[in-house]
Symmetry: C2
Subunit: 405 residues, 2 copies
């Protein structure tokens, strides 16, 4: 096995959200119990942009860019300067931190693009990188692809409520062991846990003490439920040279189909990210960048309503899950992910996910994508039509009962 | 200097097309001779999509995808299966080779995305990669970033006419020296040279003999001038497991602002490319993919007219350049690049490019981006408004006369 064979074997995407259709036909007949559960198919692997539609004005912004022509088709690799100016002002207000649109911000093809560029600009083969368990699956895969070494840090998300539950002693150990980069999502994907101000301050202090770079993926930071405080790492007294913040309009604002993300922070790292973007994809699609004009500029009340609708779905789905014996789930404080832990079943949880798809028309993402320790959990993106989502959760619960060990 | 510092220092983008605006203010006052040359600014660093507008129907295809909703927003990482089917049929017809839309084709964010994925899927640190001099600058930068070792192969593009002028003995030497990958553009960027059938057959035979993978960037293969034959490498008897072909609608079809590219060929490599795309940018923007419906489906006569208009510009610009003593330029057989070699000047060619921009409002790309041996050449993308382009070339010629050594 060559080095490349090995690298790519770690990049398996068979269970990644949206790739299920590419799985080879698997014979589940020996596993099926009872009748097929009927109901509208629900794909919890990502949000339903038909249920929650893109920000008003986004298509018009795109079309306007096409009509403007060359000025919008080609931009600097880091993005159109005028659009960067606009986004920098809005993100500075949102996060409470100064942002240099000229030197400290880059527009990328989605936040996935930003994550890749940020890690490839800071992680070299053999470098240690601290990664939370569980966290967004690409963090792990990126570090592996770059030849870095993962130092896992635990998240006790089921044991606490006011904080995310980060194992701060574990993070300190990781830095002491030589980790130079820490990457994490806040709110946490897949659990919806939000890091407390104390946790964010502690991360900032540890990063400062060990001179580590922190990459924080805040993709879901706007979809924040009642009574939740959110602390921006970039607004602490962390050394600005050591932090990159990533945000984008793909989730809460349903602009996924435009592939837009933004990273801001340390100019040296942003500069590297631009150089790398130049050979990876040149730039976020030129016309698409104009859709960022609608971001943080939604019609009055639009975001409030979107949050309320998601909060109602969250409450119903969470209540339904935790009413079942043996299912634990943290109440997500932000974002649209729910990460229930299922009881012991008579089939593997991997097979359960397959049965769920084929026998109940419900797609979820297996917990192993997020942590090797989370094989008993499943992730649902509950940005879905409310009643259909609730029906689908009923079918999940019904199958849990059928397969309960 | 760390390994990362070193890698990123090789990725300089200061002279890359479109990045000129980011160069720090440079004092040229000691270099300027004579009055400023007035005229409409012309940016030859890329094509002018206002002069040659995007394929009819592309915006409507995009808007249609937005209205279709979730089905188009999220696709498999390798792209929407229906759109892949459509593109595979069209590219199979164009190249005369069978293409599996299920296993052998991926849609990427531009052909730049395809090039990155293809090389990152085949080149590991320490691997030797054969690269033509001159050729598209990103080829070299990608290999350097991946830690590969460049084995240069010459192109005698000024000495021949019926073929591109590839140093086939040099390519054989490169393979003998252990190069496992050969990447090249056909038509060649920056010279517009098209490889002859004999050259393509010879490349196929050498690749077969040494078991090398060939990545061929055919971005400009449709913009082919009168009397030119074009041979597709994938249609030779090369082992299909060893070739990846890259095409896209960004240039001839002016769809650059949509960031779309396609790679097809060996399923094993395409599979790796998809896994990597999953962590680099997820996918080409979902809605944008629908613009590929308009590709190879242009209105009757549209492409013929586009080619004729470019051929007329090519003829005028080429004649003007070669009428000047000491300027040599190959007549491009395809594409919209012209790569004149300038005579010896009283200032460096690098300063000449700067003076040209500031004193004559003409942007060109310095030859050193394409080969360390091409410092005396400049690249022009002549996909511009005809008369403005010709005026701008007059200004280039005027400055050549002023600075002639």
């Amino acid at each position: 096995m060559t080095l490349l064979d090995q690298k790519f074997s770690q990049l398996a995407t068979d269970n990644a959200p949206g790739q299920e259709g590419r799985q080879a036909g698997i014979d589940l007949s020996g596993l099926l119990l009872g009748d097929r559960l009927l109901g509208a198919p629900v794909d919890f692997s990502h949000g339903d942009v038909d249920a929650f539609t893109p920000t008003p004005g986004s298509l018009e912004a795109f079309a306007g860019a096409v009509h403007s022509g060359g000025k919008r088709a080609y931009t600097e690799y880091r993005g159109d300067p005028e659009i960067r100016d606009d986004v920098a002002v809005k993100l500075a207000r949102f996060t409470g931190t100064p942002i240099s649109s000229a030197e400290g911000l880059i527009i990328t093809p989605g936040t996935q693009g930003a994550l890749f560029l940020a890690l490839a600009s800071t992680v070299s083969a053999g470098d240690k990188v601290a990664i939370v368990r569980p966290d967004y699956f690409a963090n792990r895969k990126l570090v592996q692809f770059l030849g870095g070494e993962i130092v896992p840090v635990g998240l006790n998300y089921l044991g606490v409520q006011r904080e995310a539950g980060l194992d701060l002693a574990g993070l300190k150990d990781a830095f002491q062991a030589g980790a130079k980069v820490f990457v994490f999502s806040n709110p946490n994907n897949p659990t919806g846990a939000v890091y407390s101000k104390e946790e964010i301050d502690a991360i900032a202090a540890l990063a400062a003490r060990y001179g580590a770079t922190v990459v924080v993926d805040q993709l879901y930071a706007r979809l924040k439920y009642s009574g939740v405080d959110y602390a921006h790492l970039c607004a602490t007294d962390i050394d600005p040279a050591n932090v990159i913040t990533i945000l984008g309009p793909s989730k809460t604002e349903s602009l996924s189909g435009y592939r837009l993300g933004v990273a801001f922070g340390a100019p040296t790292i942003i500069g590297r990210m631009e150089k790398l973007q130049a050979i990876v994809s040149l730039r976020a699609a030129g016309y698409n960048q104009s859709a960022l004009r609608t971001w943080f500029a939604e019609p009055y009340g639009w975001m409030t309503e979107r949050i309320q609708l998601h909060e109602a779905i969250r409450n119903d789905l969470h209540s339904r899950f935790v009413s079942v014996e043996g299912i634990c789930a943290r109440l997500p404080q932000a974002g649209s992910y729910l990460f229930p832990r299922l009881p012991k079943l008579s089939i593997t949880h991997q097979d359960f996910v397959r049965v769920l798809r084929h026998h109940a028309s419900v797609s979820v993402t297996p917990g192993t994508e997020f942590s090797p320790l989370s094989s008993d959990s499943i992730r649902l993106n509950f940005s879905q039509e409310h009643s259909r989502a609730l029906d689908a959760v009923d079918r999940i619960v019904e199958l849990v009962e059928r397969y309960r060990a």
